[in-house]
Amino acid sequence: MKIKGRSISKGVATGKALISKQEISFLGAVNPVTGIIVDKSLDIYGECITNRILIFPGGKGSTVGSYVIYQLKKHGKSPYAMINRRADTIVAVGAIIAEIPAVDSLEIDPVDGELIEDGEEVLVNGTEGYIELQ
């Protein structure tokens, strides 16, 4: 099944979904060297975002978050791709400078758990702005 959205950051990637229903403040929420979520207030606390398709409503908090996304990539610990309900500047720019594919504004909400389940295989096409499910 193909679901249309909007291109945020170019590139294509496939991986297993990791869904958070909460906005993420990357500075402080994730360890840039390990890729593990360290913010106890998040529903994906303790999970590793490395090589996953990270699905969440959008970013929030410190604007340094974009560089945290860059650092994750530099350390080989970034997600393969990101899907937002509505991308914000912090996540969009982080994805662009780190060259991680990202999309948002899908025709069906990706966050509420009905469209995509945790662990499900997802393809993200950030260049054309869509995702594909098995």
């Binding site: 906005e23 410190s62 604007t63 650092q71 530099k74 500047t89 720019v93």
Partner: protein, 389 residues
Amino acid sequence: MHLTKEEERIYEGEEGWTRKKAMEILVTIGDINNASKLIRIKSAHISGASYKTIGEAFEFINRLEGTVRVKSTLNPIGMDIEKRNEIGISGEFANKQKEVLEAYKKLGISAECTCVPYLIGQMPKRDEHLAWSESSAVLYANSVLGARTNMEGAPSALAASLIGKTPLYGLHQTENREPEIRVCVKCDLVDADYSALGFLIGNRIGNKIPLVELHPSSVPSKDELKHLSAAIGATGSVGMYHIKGITPEADAIGLPAEKIEIEKGDVKKFYEVNEEADVIAIGCPHCSSHELQRIYELLRAEGKGRKVRKDFFIFTARAIKQRMQEVVQKIENYGVKVICDTCFVVSPAFERYRCVLTNSGKMQRYVPLLCGGAEVRLCKTEECIRKAF
């Protein structure tokens, strides 16, 4: 988004890689936010200056060449340039940090290293367009000064400074500055209560512009507004707020239908933790001259000739420290350290503590995440100083 011929040339890379990359960032942000064009900005404020927070992302900044096109200021770095040994910064970190700072300076960015550019001569005027990052400064510029900036990311503010422009969307447009929810505060607020209020607002309403209706007896000072701005910025994802009767754009607007109430008990909860603190930190965002003066007066009243018994740090901008040299000297005579260029959260020097006492809602949010597992406790300024002796 419509680009002028000149902008298109930059986008195509005809003015080099740096300006191409900067333009790509601006265009993508513009496109995702349905901006119609780029507009000129008056100034840029750039976060992402501490090696502790940006780490290896410094590589990206180091690759940039050329000169910024507008007055551009820098956020705090990871150490006090003059007191690096005194606060125990390793040589390795210091060298990396100096490289980061040089990379920014090379681009023509003013290395004042503070989160309060508006207190050191970078005072935007009403309706001026800016590209600022550092959430506390963004909220202050929009809400208190009536200037116009979106909540830029560290790289997008940098991109805007290199081009001298930003996409026209969001808080640059009058119609997007309207409040969306009323926040009725049922109790009188003073000092750190504004940090608590900001924390509550950010957590409870996230991305809606609030119209705050304070209790009639609350008249916030500029310092209190600074703390409110910082706490909303640290916990929410909104770039401005209004306060009825106080902020410049609050009275020309209608009342939103949605409403929440803040009770005395909501604010009181912030002070109920009884953890014994082993360090006191004030100056997030950096202390104003007025705050330094007040801290000195409180130390004098409480100290009665004694020195503080706990580690006590005050953070301010170097320009403010220089302006207040005499007061700073007197504060330091009490055994308190006045630190510049950096802060408790973005420096690795302060990761050895168990529990931090502060008047800052922004620290309340970031200390547990970024300071080596330390806990944090909010106190009014007066109480912070009382607990120091």
